[in-house]
């Protein structure tokens, strides 16, 4: 079932369009920085990552990940998880999958794993595109950390990849939420939009200082925790919080999704 899901996604234009859009982000950043390098006197205005790119291509994939995460990632999760069941219901193929027969729980688990895999593949695309564009234009070198120390090129590369892995795992909670939303409706676009809204609203809430009491409970809490990898010593607190939140959301919303999908009448 999982392989069928991946195969289906790879034959859709929208998957490739999304992949191209995501991989284009680090490339665009590289081009923009190359075309008008940040001036030293403007250093205070420029984001610290962007300023560093001129010296080191390794910043391109990292900046790409950071830029892609809030919106494009939410969109990808909407398309892969939000549309998972609702889209099949809308096209009518859900009933033919179930009478094949495919058990409902199995279908949900396969949808969840394929959504995570596809999101992961998109992030790999961002990292690869960033490494390629950044490497060609700026070359690689040791990377300064946010704490002022320096990482060797290889160590920095490992941490860039680690950032991607963390971003993916931290997205597991919202993926489960999207899958649950997907079992609530027979409208694919509705479920996609609802999932994207939840993901973005969660990030907005996480940013509003006045709502700090809510912060530890929103599904995207700790999404930016990967920046802790670029401190010395590594700051695990943000990532620990993010992983805890996403584990709780994954478990809770997978249970909800399975419960709701099993009790539902398939009338689509």
């Amino acid at each position: 079932m999982f392989r069928v899901e991946i195969g289906k996604a790879l034959r859709r234009w929208r998957t490739w369009l999304l992949a191209a859009a995501l991989a284009g982000v680090p490339v665009l950043i590289v081009i923009a920085v190359k075309a008008s390098p940040p001036q030293p006197q403007a250093a205070e205005d420029a984001p610290p990552f962007l300023l560093q790119i001129v010296r080191n291509g390794l910043f391109a994939p990292l900046t790409g990940l950071a830029v892609v995460q809030p919106f494009f990632m939410s969109l990808a999760i909407g398309l892969f998880a939000g549309d998972a069941i609702a889209g099949e219901a809308q096209s009518g193929t859900l009933r033919y999958l179930l009478v094949r027969p495919v058990r409902r729980v199995r279908l949900l688990v396969a949808k969840y794993l394929s959504a995570m895999t596809l999101t992961g593949a998109l992030l790999v695309g961002v990292i690869l595109a960033g490494l390629l564009a950044g490497g060609v234009v700026f070359g690689f070198g040791p990377l300064p950390t946010l704490s002022g120390t320096t990482l060797s090129t290889w160590e920095a590369l490992v941490r860039v990849i680690g950032s991607g892995a963390y971003i993916l795992v931290a997205a597991s909670g919202i993926t489960a939420v999207g899958l649950f939303i997907s079992t609530l409706t027979d409208s694919g676009p509705g479920a996609i939009v609802a999932t994207v809204i939840v993901a973005i609203a969660s990030q907005v809430i996480d940013q509003i200082p006045n709502l700090h009491t809510l912060h530890p409970y929103v599904p995207t809490h700790g999404w930016l925790g990967f920046t802790g990898l670029f401190r010395f010593p590594v700051d695990w607190s943000g990532m620990r919080a993010g992983l805890t939140v996403s584990a709780v959301y994954t478990i809770a919303f997978m249970i909800l999704a399975i419960w709701n999908f099993r009790r539902r009448d398939i009338t689509s």
Binding site: L98, R100, V102
Partner: protein, 312 residues
């Protein structure tokens, strides 16, 4: 005895309305069974329950001897078309069949299905369009691909909901031939339809459903017999009417015209149209035409539910 489909007290309620109301249905193995009823009679709801797509409010349904539930779904040995066919529009017809074959896992059933993809496409006449995207298929082609999908697993039981929808007359005849051949080969075929003529032309047995219940069941000929109307064109309607009213086992449905005109009568019991004709001629009435009127399902249906107290 094992039945292909057996329901006992099967009920589905939506709020206060019973879509299927204590249905007891038995479909024997090997039959070509026509499941007849007007739209909204509960046919699709029944089929969906038999396929484990929707929960029964109460009662049970067994398919090929095994209890069906929404947790288990139907058996691998069941092929189905539920309402209109549905496919991944961005994939070709062949890929759609391959994907649905693989969706069941990697077992024996999947291998067997994959090996049969081309044979099924050929059987429903789509081999020339196998590599076109379903997006570009006509409605009739999608319908045939739906039948091809249902046949993919060499099912022992086929459950088809309105399979001739969207087919032209040639396609309908081909469909009937395909289903007849499958039934003759030992497959149980359960076909729902709202077209009496279609069911009569191909089925061994018919169940008529109305308002969630079976209101008649038996070989197709017996249903028609229940409401046999004859249209008679005569030169003297008044005299003809008098003859009909004297004759037992026949009643006047309508009369039009004064002098020459048309009389519509309903035959019951053993009286044949020929005997009625003889009686009219004996009374000196000139009979210009005597046409048995084929009842529409609506007529049969209305006639069937007349005597039954169906709460609304």
């Amino acid at each position: 005895m094992t039945f292909a489909i057996r329901t006992s007290g099967l009920t589905k309620r939506y709020d206060d309305v019973a879509a299927v109301d204590g249905l007891d249905l038995e479909v024997e193995c090997g039959a070509l069974y026509g499941f007849l009823g007007p739209n909204g009679a509960g046919k699709t709801t029944t089929i969906r329950m038999a396929l484990g797509l929707i929960h029964a409010t109460s009662g049970a349904v067994e398919v090929l001897g095994e209890r069906v539930s929404t947790d288990r779904g139907p058996l691998e040995r069941v092929g189905a078309l539920v309402e209109e066919p549905a496919f991944y529009r961005y994939l070709s017809g062949r890929r759609n069949l391959e994907y649905f074959a693989r969706a069941g896992g990697r077992g024996e059933g999947t291998r067997r299905r994959l090996a049969r993809v081309d044979a099924c496409l050929a059987q429903v006449g789509l081999i020339h369009a196998a590599d076109k995207r379903v997006k570009a298929y006509s409605q009739g082609m999608r319908q045939r691909l739906g039948i091809g999908l249902a046949l993919l697993g060499e099912p022992e039981l086929l459950m088809l909901d309105e399979p001739t929808n969207g087919l032209d007359p040639t396609g309908m005849r081909e469909m009937r031939q395909i289903l007849r051949a499958l039934a003759d080969g030992g497959t149980t075929v359960f076909v729902s339809s709202h077209l009496l003529a279609e069911v009569e032309a191909m089925c061994d047995r018919v169940g008529v459903m109305a308002q969630g219940r079976i209101v008649a069941e038996g070989p197709p000929g017996t249903l028609r017999g229940a409401a046999d109307r004859v249209r008679i064109e005569v030169d003297d309607v008044k005299a003809a009417r008098a003859v009909v009213e004297r004759t037992p086992d026949v009643s006047v449905v309508s009369a039009s015209g004064d002098g020459s005109g048309v009389l519509q009568v309903m035959l019951a019991g053993v009286l044949t149209p020929g005997a009625l004709n003889a009686a009219l001629v004996a009374a000196g009435i000139q009979v210009n035409a005597l046409v048995p009127e084929r009842d529409t399902l609506e007529d049969v249906f209305l006639h069937l539910v007349e005597g039954i107290d169906v709460p609304r």
